[in-house]
């Protein structure tokens, strides 16, 4: 029996001869990641359990990105725990303000995660790295503490669900729309415990930013990991970034799948996920008249340079609607610099947007764009749960960057074709 890419990567990180779905395995991890919310607990657990030295200082990655630049005293204390631990352990991949970015944009950009890797992160969107052809999954702080000590973690080998996208997507349809549409079809637990493998002619032509956005949101369907078969596009992306060897895996033709779905991307219009679940999606033509107060363009889902270029293309020569706030958050310093160099900041500022330093900030209701009771936001982020961006009486609508930009201009949820 053949194997899927997920099974091959997991097997390669064990000392056993074969694996199959359902099996519990202990596996070596290539990268173990924590941030300023989750790592402080892991560090405390690590110390309490008698930990002296992390298993490999080059493979434990600490990213203070959620509430940085420090939002308040308590957050500053949490970041201090990270910083002190990074100093003490001489952690290679600790990034201070001025270098730091949103973890799931930063790690691929800096070549810290690579194809064929087994990555765990104490952040649910760790699954983003599946876009590179890596096995990457979110875990809790305790699992991170264990991995920091031993370099290993236990896993139940997941069944794989294969999703084939075919057809030619429309002009404003992005990776974000493909994954929102899919979550709408299968629900927020439609892929619970399983791997999701993306393939098909549409996927093969997708750029890396779209692939990252898709892999990023598989957790919103309950999946353990999402994965793409690495190809020329992947090679182009990693070749200048990688500082260590990496491996391209692919699924065997006779690999076993728990389910195979085929979706015509040509029939999908830009999607909007209504409150309060990412599965609550509608096509842009069926949205109706939904007035908004705020737009956020950023996050580990859609804060990459490609996303900012799309937004700038729509905002150019236009102004944000009266009483609407547009917050743009480049996900990393490199993206920030590129956007500045390409003249995107001029366009954003002329449109009356505010540009934030890289931070997770408003996406999880931390700060830098919190909503008041009854307010509505269109966001290129990944979750729209109750209270996600602020007051429990506020609402978040998830969309791609083109819809977010067009909505900012019109003051209601709208697609770019309405401009």
């Amino acid at each position: 029996m053949g194997m899927t890419i997920t099974e091959k990567i997991l097997l390669q990180h064990t000392d056993i001869g074969e694996i199959h779905p359902g099996m519990l395995i202990n596996a070596r991890v290539d990268i173990a990641l924590g941030n300023d919310v989750t790592a402080p607990i892991a560090i405390e657990e690590f110390k309490k359990a008698g930990g002296k030295q992390v298993f490999d200082r080059h493979r434990v990655v600490l990213i203070p990105d959620h509430f940085t630049p420090n939002k308040d005293i308590a957050s500053a204390q949490q970041c201090k725990i990270l910083r002190n631990f990074a100093k003490e352990q001489e952690i290679t991949h600790y990034y201070e303000i001025g270098e730091v970015g949103i973890e799931h944009a930063l790690l691929p950009e800096q070549g810290i995660v690579l194809p064929g890797d087994l990555v765990i992160g104490a952040d649910s969107h760790t699954c983003t790295y599946g876009a590179l052809g890596a096995f990457a999954t979110g875990i809790g702080s305790t699992d991170l503490a264990g991995a920091m000590m031993t370099g290993e973690a236990w896993f139940k080998v997941p069944e794989t669900m294969k999703v084939i996208f075919y057809g030619h997507p429309g002009k404003w349809v992005s990776g974000k729309d493909l994954i929102l549409h899919l979550i709408g079809l299968i629900g927020v637990d439609g892929a619970l415990y399983r791997a999701m493998e993306f393939t098909g002619e549409t996927v093969e032509k997708l750029g890396m930013a779209d692939r990252f956005a898709i892999a990023n949101m598989v957790i919103e369907a309950g999946a353990k990991n999402g994965i793409f078969i690495p190809d020329e596009m992947t090679k182009e992306y990693v070749k200048s970034r990688a500082k260590r060897p990496y491996t391209f895996y692919s699924s065997d033709p006779d690999a076993a799948y728990s389910e195979v779905m085929e979706i015509d991307a040509g029939k999908i219009e830009p999607q909007v996920a209504f409150p309060h679940l990412p599965s609550n999606v509608k096509g842009i033509s069926k949205v109706g008249d939904v007035k908004i107060d705020q737009v956020v363009i950023g996050s580990c889902t859609n804060g990459r340079i490609e996303d900012l270029r799309v937004a700038a293309g729509i905002l150019k020569g236009r102004r944000v609607a009266p009483y609407v706030r547009l917050i743009i958050i480049p996900a990393t310093q490199e993206i920030y610099r590129t956007a500045l160099r390409e003249g995107l900041f001029e366009i954003f500022l002329d449109a009356r947007a505010v540009i934030s330093p890289p931070t997770c900030g408003p996406c999880l209701g931390g700060y830098m764009g919190i909503l008041a009771d009854g307010e509505r936001a269109v966001a290129t982020t990944n979750r729209n749960f109750v209270g996600r961006m602020g007051h429990p009486g506020s609402e978040v609508y998830l969309a791609n960057p083109s819809v977010a930009a067009a909505s900012a201009i019109l003051g209601r949820i709208a697609g770019p074709d309405e401009l």
Partner: protein
């Protein structure tokens, strides 16, 4: 490993933002997290819940973020165990690692009301609704190693005890 307590009912897809909103994630102190437990799903929950009470929820409990603050908050609020139709996978793992027992049971939710008392036998693998003639509900028993881990108060305490 038995738990007896009053039932608090919640629906499907209770996410980690509802369990412990991110506005409180600038700390990981259990006693502070407990005050805000379930705040965006039921604002009065932390005040009403008593030590030993049991959460009975629908499917996909704990979906969303990987924050361990979610099981920490629930455990610190005094909840003895959670029974849901299904759990999101990161929450499932985190709950055991925190020493918070959780059980999957498809049928209980429709057959129990908020405020009723139930008894959960994690060793024998069944749930009884007390003072009712409803048949016991089958659940997967917690294997012995996991019972030990829960008794020790979670994975790391368990590991340090084992040396």
């Amino acid at each position: 490993m038995k738990f007896k307590g009053r039932v608090w009912k919640f629906g499907d897809n209770i996410d980690t933002d509802a369990i412990i909103p991110a506005r409180y994630l600038n700390t990981s102190a259990p006693e502070i997290l407990a005050i805000h437990c379930m705040e965006d799903a039921d604002p009065g929950f932390a005040k009403k819940v008593k030590r030993g009470d049991i959460i009975v929820a629908g499917k996909n409990f704990g979906c969303g973020s990987s924050r361990e603050h979610a099981p920490i908050a629930i455990k610190a609020a005094g909840v003895s165990c959670i029974i849901a139709k299904s759990f999101a996978r990161i929450f499932y793992r985190n709950a055991f690692n925190m020493g918070l027992p959780i059980f999957e049971c498809l049928d209980l939710w429709e057959r129990v009301s908020e405020g009723e008392r139930i008894e959960v036998d994690g060793e024998a693998g069944f749930i009884v609704v007390m003072n009712s003639n409803t048949e016991p509900f089958r659940i997967h028993p917690i294997p012995p190693f996991m019972q030990e881990l829960i008794r020790d108060g979670g994975l790391m305490k368990h590991l340090s005890k084992k040396g």
